[in-house]
């Protein structure tokens, strides 16, 4: 490879271009990651706020149920828990 200067130059130019592309990709990824992290922090804060409107066992249950709902990606359930304190169909609340 060392004997062919022309090819080596070409290869390095290409490599440089590719490296630039990868770096741009990385920057986009990093930015996306940061946005995602901030949004998730907000989600967590909201869950804490919703839990703060209850006391005792209900508080712990709201946190746990909300986390489960977020994990299973069911936003309807999440809103229901935040609003009423429990899922309407499972009704784990102690009256």
């Amino acid at each position: 490879m060392m004997g062919d200067m022309e090819m080596m130059r070409k290869a390095y130019t290409e490599l440089n271009g590719l490296n630039g592309q990868l770096m741009a990709g990385y920057n986009i990824r990093a930015q996306n990651q940061e946005t995602l992290l901030n949004a998730l922090k907000e989600v967590n804060q909201m869950i804490q706020k919703a839990a703060n409107l209850r006391a005792g066992r209900a508080k712990a249950r709201v946190i746990a149920d909300c986390r489960t709902a977020v994990k299973s990606n069911s936003m309807k359930t999440l809103f229901k828990i935040m609003k009423y304190g429990y899922e309407a169909n499972t009704n784990s609340a102690t009256r």
Partner: protein, 150 residues
Amino acid sequence: MSAVRSATLSKPANGYVPVETAVLPAEVLVISWESVSEFGQSHLRLRIQCDSMDLAGELLQDMVKYFKIDELESVADFPQEYQKFEEVLKRVADCNAARMNLAADMADDSQRIKVSSLLRLVAHRYAYNTYDNVCCMITPIASLRTGPGD
């Protein structure tokens, strides 16, 4: 933002009883009691009306501490905050989808680098007629092509 210096607890039977509270930042804050009959039992229901979920929560926690209540359920409806939260959730979903796509792109890129550098090496060997080495170079490319990435 204005500050609420005192809140009024309204009791229908005894008229209005002014109660001093701590200084809390709020735009609107209304607290009212009502007596409700539910499931054959009559109990007191407290209603806190304000736009901030934070404030309502803080107030409620203080009350719970003061009245030494260790178990409290509640219905919380904050349309404004919930609407904002919906946007946050949408942002999470979008970011997550983008993250998946970008990860796939990244994997593709690194795969391409591997393949292209190997191919160039093989082409170079061909150009210089060093066929002895070509066979051993083709093998890894073949394995790359049929790899799990493709």
